[in-house]
């Protein structure tokens, strides 16, 4: 009988041992906010007893690895970072675990999620991925350079104004480029920007019967505006600049304006930035057609069906996308550095409003992006800067290469558009959309 406590003790120790031995593998993109999450994750392990195995990869490599894994049911990952392009497509294939436990947890407060984000990550009202941060796009500009050019940035500029300002701000002798825009090929790089931009010119990827529209004047206007702007006021080597490269350029004071993700705001006014006190914010430009060139994206955490640790994985997602996580980051790094764009409560928080001068523009941008009606004319697809069909990533990768070549001066805008039209028609025919 004396042995019982020992046995119980040993058993419970063993149980604790196995519980803490549970390890989940998490794959995320190597952006600053995710690296911060990785640094904070020991707190999660301490609280839950679940060990975390991090896979932090550059975006393209990560996408390739998780797509291969989930499509072959490989089971290497328990938590994957995906976006609103993948979430609905993968959920429809039955590859993702519905986040019911999360939705049912009052502490998680699902109704606090911004409707745009929740909608983009849900299928038929069921949440399949929980947003870690959310973004639209907006204009960043240098107040000092704008003043020097004798111009005033309106809250909601037009492309015409942007063009004028960019050329006026350009000062090649002092290494200042009027505007920095994405040029690096990729469906999530230059095509995200150009597709969003094309919406404001009234262009669309496909008409109602899925015929590509690159032979239409709206796309020509988009590409011509983009190319001439970049030729007159863009940085050298623009065709290899993506989000990260442009952010670096802006932080170093080499860009007068930059139109990109709203999530960059905190880094531009942070201590890594040499121009922190001169950054202004404005809505993405339009051409008066009723649509602005701003997109909608979120990096969200999802649990693949192949995961052997779905419960622990949901626990982690709850930890990482909860209000409490935002407060933890705020306490450690200040309110300006919390992951933005996911929760209504954040934008109602006076402390955040005070610390984040970009909060209002960000929220307005997010709320004005409409994935159901991305552009002026009707479209058969959902998504602002993408079309949520499985084939889009491959198709837009090719088109992105062509537009990047046009930017590099390797081919003319007309050639790029013609080849884009041909290659997209070819792929859409193969996939069976065009009969």
């Amino acid at each position: 009988m004396k042995l019982t406590p020992f046995i119980v003790g040993a058993l419970s120790l063993a149980l604790v041992g196995t519980a803490s031995a549970e390890t989940i593998t998490i794959a995320v993109v190597n952006n600053d906010d995710m690296i911060r999450m990785q640094a904070l994750s020991p707190a999660f392990t301490a609280a839950s007893g679940v060990d975390v195995n991090w896979v932090v990869l550059e975006e393209n490599t990560l996408r390739q690895n998780v797509t291969t894994d989930i499509a072959t049911n490989g089971g290497q990952y328990d938590v994957m970072m995906i976006g609103p392009y993948e979430a609905p497509v993968w959920a429809k294939q039955g590859w993702l675990t519905p986040l019911d436990a999360l939705a049912a947890d009052p502490g998680f407060d699902i109704d606090d999620l911004l409707p745009a984000m929740r909608g983009a990550l849900s299928v038929d009202g069921t949440l399949y991925a929980s947003p870690f941060y959310g973004e639209s796009s907006m204009v960043y500009y240098r107040k000092d350079l704008m003043e020097k050019a004798g111009l005033t940035m309106p809250d909601a500029p037009t492309w015409e104004f942007i063009g004028k300002a960019a050329r006026a701000m350009t000062d090649r002798a002092n290494d200042i480029n009027g505007i920095c825009l994405r040029g690096k090929a990729g469906w999530g790089e230059n095509m995200a920007f150009l597709t969003a931009m094309s919406n404001s010119f009234g262009a669309r990827w496909f008409d109602e019967s899925w015929h590509p529209q690159f032979d239409q004047p709206e796309w020509k206007a988009t590409l011509d505006t983009y190319l001439s702007l970049m030729a007159d006021a863009g940085p050298a080597g623009a065709s290899s600049n993506g989000y990260n490269e442009n952010m670096t350029l802006f932080q170093q004071g080499k860009c007068g304006m930059w139109i990109d993700a709203t999530v960059a705001a905190s880094a531009l006014i942070g201590d890594k930035s040499t121009v922190a006190d001169q950054v202004g914010f404005a809505l993405a430009p339009d051409t008066g057609l009723g649509k602005r060139g701003n997109w909608l994206w979120t990096w969200a955490l999802a649990v693949p069906k192949s995961s052997q640790h779905a419960d622990a994985a949901q626990k982690f997602i709850n930890w990482a996308t909860n209000k409490a996580y935002i407060e933890t980051v705020a306490a450690k790094e200040g309110w300006a550095n919390v992951p933005p764009g996911t929760r209504t409560s954040l934008y109602n928080n006076p402390a955040y409003q005070a610390a984040a001068p970009f909060a209002k523009t960000t929220l307005d941008s997010i709320n004005s992006a409409d994935p159901q009606h991305p552009t002026v004319k009707p479209v058969p697809y959902v998504g602002v800067q993408f079309a949520a069909i499985p084939e889009f990533a491959g198709i837009a990768t090719n088109v992105g290469q062509l537009f990047s070549a046009a930017l590099a001066g390797q081919m003319s805008a007309d050639d790029a558009l013609k080849q884009a039209q041909d290659s997209t028609t070819r792929d859409m025919t193969r996939a069976g959309y065009i009969k």
């Binding site: 499509a71 294939q93 090929a185 990729g186 080597g237 290899s240 499985p390 001066g409 081919m411």
Partner: protein, 290 residues
């Protein structure tokens, strides 16, 4: 000398290697062949069934297919020319009596130890970056406008990076061959009054021909599959200016998640590799007996 017993023993000793390599070759090859005749998209499980030759016509009619073929050829030949000529030159130089030969050899051999993604990243960010790359700094220093390497000369940039990685290998093999040229042969040539150029053409070159063939064979095997360097630096672009066959297969199969077409591309790549191999093996095979 080969009795029946030793022959059997020899077979037994070879068996594990042969069997393993056979499995390694045949299993993926058969699966790839099978997939290449199927409708198989990773992200669209609705696409199933026999595809006939559709995947092959799709790949071969790819607008960048011909360019990828040409790029592959330019890439392989470009790197081979640079490494063989450069390697011969450096080997001749290192074979001279010079001070600090040990350290020199270490410096020259070093690029061979750098893994391809690191090599590509070093060149991309540290050297060839249009803004803060060392080459750009140097060009500005002498009053020139910096070159945007990966936009203006994408294929050449990749060739430079790959050639840098393989130059040490070529140099080492050629140097070893050079040093095996006996002292008597050289001295005899010198006493015959042959000048340096004649010595090079009539004594050294014939002696090195075998080493050159070896360099070409081994490098070609690796160069046909160049991939990491392209992916890290140019992503095959701008346009398709630096897309080779390996990258085309990657783009069709993996980036577009179209395993059927990707497999067809893989089969095409194997066929091309075998055509190259056929000619190479004949050339080298002759030399192996000599």
């Amino acid at each position: 000398m080969a009795t029946a017993q030793t022959r059997n023993l020899a077979r037994t000793m070879m068996a594990p290697a042969v069997v393993l390599l056979f499995i390694w070759m045949i299993v993926p090859l058969v699966m790839t062949l099978w997939f290449s005749f199927q409708n198989y998209s990773l992200i669209n499980p609705m696409m199933t069934g026999f595809a006939g030759l559709a995947n092959y016509t799709y790949v071969i009619s790819d607008p960048s297919f011909v360019q990828a073929l040409i790029n592959t050829l330019i890439l392989v030949l470009g790197v081979l020319i640079i490494t063989v000529i450069g390697g011969t030159f450096i080997a001749l130089l290192l074979d001279q009596p010079i001070w600090g030969q040990g350290i020199l050899r270490i410096l020259v051999i070093s690029p061979f130890f750098v893994m391809p993604p690191v090599a590509a990243l070093i060149w991309k960010n540290g050297f060839m970056h249009a803004d803060y790359g060392l080459i750009s700094h140097l060009m500005r220093f002498v009053g020139l406008k910096p070159i945007d390497w990966f936009a203006q000369y994408p294929l050449l940039s990749v060739i430079i990076i790959v050639a840098w990685q393989w130059l040490p290998f070529a140099t080492l093999i050629l140097l070893t061959a050079l040093q095996s040229l006996s002292e008597e042969q050289r001295e005899a040539a010198e006493m015959d009054g042959a000048n340096a150029v004649n010595r090079f053409w009539y004594i050294i070159m014939p002696h090195m021909s075998r080493a050159v063939t070896i360099v070409i064979l081994i490098q070609t095997i690796f160069l046909l599959g160049i991939f990491a360097e392209i992916r890290v630096t140019t992503g095959g672009g701008p346009g398709f200016a630096s897309t080779n066959i390996a990258f085309l297969v990657f783009r069709t199969g993996i980036l577009s998640n179209d395993i059927g077409a990707g497999s067809a591309g893989g089969v095409v790549a194997v066929i091309i590799a075998n055509i190259v191999a056929f000619f190479l093996m004949r050339a080298v095979g002759k030399n192996l007996d000599a």
